[in-house]
Amino acid sequence: MVRATLAALMAHWWRHPLQLVSLAVGLALATALWSGVQAINGQARDSYDRAAQLLGQNRFARIEAADGQRFGQARYIALRRAGWQVSPVLEGTWRDGDRRLRILGVDPVTAPPGAVPQTVTGGAGLRPFITPPGLAFAAPETAAALEPATGLPELRATAGLLPGVLVMDIGIAQNLLSAPGAVSRLIVAPEQPMGRPPLAEIAPDLVQRAPQARADISRLTDSFHLNLTAFGLLSFAVGLFIVHSAVGLAFEQRRTMFRTLRAIGVPLAVLTALLAVEMLMLALFAGLAGVALGYGIAAALLPDVAATLRGLYGAAVPGTLNLSPGWWLGGLAVALVGATAASAQSLWRVWRMPLLAPAQPRAWARASARSMVAQTGIAAGLALAAVALAMWGQSLVAGFALLGAMLLAAALALPGVLSALLGMAERAARGPLALWFWADTRQQLPGLSLALMALLLALAANVGVGTMVASFRLTFTGWLDQRLASELYVTAENEAQAARLREWLAPRSNAVLPIWSIEGSLAGAPGAVFGVADHATYRDNWPMLRMQPGGWDRVARGEAALINEQLMRQAGLVPGDMLRLPGGHTLPVAGVYSDYGNPRGEAMIGVDLLTTLYPQVPRLRHAIRADPAQAVALARSLVEEFGLPPDNVTDQARIKALSLGIFEQTFTVTAALNVLTMGVAGFAMLMSLLTLSTMRLPQLAPVWALGLTRARLARLELVRAVMLAALTMLLALPVGLLLAWALLAVVNVAAFGWRLPMHLFPADWARLTALALLAGGTAAAWPAWRLARTAPADLLKVFAHER
């Protein structure tokens, strides 16, 4: 009985291959987009963990200076002599033209097991590693890219290291970074001898920090990955709309079969169980395809994601995928859960269907129409929740909950709103054809509503994200003009050269402004403190959001600090509050400046105070004010005079181009996911219209028989789809703008720490409307063409009751 029943159920799919394709593709796309995003996130997180492990951040306690700066290795020697089992690490950045390399100097002799990669401590042997010119280990892609570089020790490619990181002996690193005798931190071995003197006694300026559960970079990039996850979830939801629609129609079309099967003795439990098994089998196959497709999507997007993470956060993520079996199984599980969620309602209806229930062809549509009221009620509830979240929600989670509630409310409300609009049009209609057109469109809504909801979500996401990105671009470009006021930016290769540079430039330029900074903890999170010269460049151009009177004077005198918007929001600081700098020095906040695209909190203090508080601050970078007409010549002279690599001297335009490049790349992935979501929504609409077109004949045949040509009916079908897409776009627009507002005013603030002004771009809306109409028209074109070509004999079967 089971085999025969299952065969009968599955036979439906052979007769309706389009439905099978719709269901499988919907599920595969949903799984693909979700698991693709998960793959990207997983790969990135794995890299952060490797980075943390490599740097000994997450497994070992460490000792560092209270201000987070480097300290002399005499402290290390004193601690070792006192019995402390510690190992020194020097970390720094080495520039190779545009390329920044992270140098990690370690001492393989004293490092506790596991603190330094195995390849470094074994294999090649210690002698070549620690003896000048030394050995440096790098990831194969980094080693390959650096082959011709000079000034580095011999490179050895080693799998397992992060791209962009060079591991070498600490002595070699000290020379390379021009930091003789300097140490960034000490790794504390887990086993320590009893009775050793306390740290405060030997090195009172150092503090011990517990092992970190999460790497710093992981904290910084959380919001980026949350954004990706949110998009993955949106795409998954849109894909599930397709599956739900296809499953609903397949179940509806088989109502007669269900009734017959039950009438001839198949128990309800067996029937329902077999339907569930059928769904799970389909989900398994579609899920496999989806996971494979997800791998493809992730592989295609990962290089852009890696570039974004590198450009925005300085996080190294390899551009190639390396996925675990857990990811594959997770993807399949998501497909199964999705299929179950999408078919639960239909299975429940079968379970509740009385044995002698008439197999009404419109039962599904009517039931859907009945549920429209409940659906609208839920939408109203969600809208209220969204309002509450908008008013009182502060966190990133609240921000995403707001987005979710808003989008879901809009999607659920769509059928009700469309029905009301179509009802109004029906009442206003003059002429039988118009009346029929509106009434028939309204009747079709239940069958089309899921596809239209998917389209609404995709359009709203497009408007919202598009507005956010375009607002960002507009603001960011203006901000760059303010922020990059200097004509040239030059980076010296070492401190001595920097000093000579300053001397040489003094008579040849209007001003040489230091860009010196130290990294350290601000308000408990990674941050940086910059020194600012007292110069009109800053007073006239710096993009201040808030400023106390006389703020610049107080900063110049070392009596106050300026903070960026991120730090203001992270630490809840306002002008007048006290800011604690790395090392413990405190200053009142005099003003807040905008700092778009920077995930970190930053502070600016007078450059004299910076050098006093942090005497070891690298003094390599400078901004040069000069006659713009002479800037190019000056840059050339600098290169010639000091033998600087051309990449160390950059002009304003080039930095702007670089910054905008990073900005554009940041949103490449978002744009790609946006396009994919639109594609999924368009596919949902096509599939719904195609499936419905086979069920539409009983409604269209009488109208044809009464005197309308098939061609005219087909044209009306086309107009109907385009009109529904237009109405959906009309409703998606305010939803999208609300979404943009939530992204800019709530999510961005919580995620990145800055708020952007919102700009409106009607030309983009017009383009998107045209795209929506095109999607509706394209989706309806094939079904309409099929209708126009339907043989009269097929239409006549409606009257002969042969269907």
Binding site: R366, P432, A439, P702, A705, R710
Partner: protein, 218 residues
């Protein structure tokens, strides 16, 4: 002559084989005349009716309505003729599910630009549909739906009514009542009626009976 069918032939392909439904069939219906078309299942009665309505084209032969040959007309012209001159009643009622009874009733007449509100009201009253005008087809019984279908067919005062087993889905008493209304109203409007039926009893109530059998009329 209202309807004239001359020597028409119709067949179809099934499983790679050509099946001849009928050949060389001729018939005519005059204005005010009610003609029954009977025959066994599968004899081609409905197909013949569809050819008369211009819903299908014959393989050979001519169908003419009011002297206009349907075979010479394109899709659009035949659609225009159908909505203006022919009233169709089907066994399955085939009302438009998205429209209420009132809109269904006047739909075809409005399409043809021939609506007469007084006549539609009269029809609604005569067919007992006044209390049902606001309802949708799915809320009506079979007999009620067929009364709406008859009203729709007659609302535009067509010259020819083509009915395909209009009482085939109804019980005998309801079917008789529907037939009474159909014949009475057709008589009043002076239209011609060609009705397919299985029932010899119903056929006997019409002016003339044609029997389709073995691919031809007898």
């Amino acid at each position: 002559m209202l309807l004239e069918v001359r020597d028409i032939t119709k067949g179809y392909d099934s499983g790679g084989e050509h099946v001849q439904v009928f050949a060389g069939v001729s018939l005519s219906v005059n204005a005010g005349e009610a003609v029954a078309l009977t025959g066994e299942s599968g004899s081609g009665k409905s197909t013949l009716l569809h050819l008369c309505a211009g819903l299908e084209r014959p393989d050979a032969g001519q169908v003419a309505l009011d002297g206009q040959t349907l075979g010479d007309m394109g899709d659009g012209a035949r659609a225009r003729l159908r909505r203006a001159r022919i009233g169709l009643v089907f066994q399955q009622f085939n009302l438009i599910p998205s429209l209420p009874v009132a809109a269904n009733l006047r739909f075809q007449a409005q399409l043809a630009g021939r609506e007469n509100v007084t006549w539609t009201d009269t029809l609604a009253a005569r067919l007992g549909l006044v209390p049902l005008l606001g309802r949708y087809p799915e809320q009506l019984s079979g007999g009620q739906q067929q009364r709406v279908a008859i009203g729709r067919a007659l609302a535009g005062r067509p010259g020819l009514i083509l009915a395909d087993e209009p009482t085939g889905n109804l019980d005998e008493a309801t079917g008789d009542a529907v037939m009474d209304l159909l014949l009475g109203l057709v008589g009043e409007t002076g239209a011609g009626l060609l009705m397919v039926t299985h029932s010899a009893r119903l056929a006997a109530r019409l002016d003339r009976r044609l029997h389709l059998s073995g691919g031809g009329l007898c």
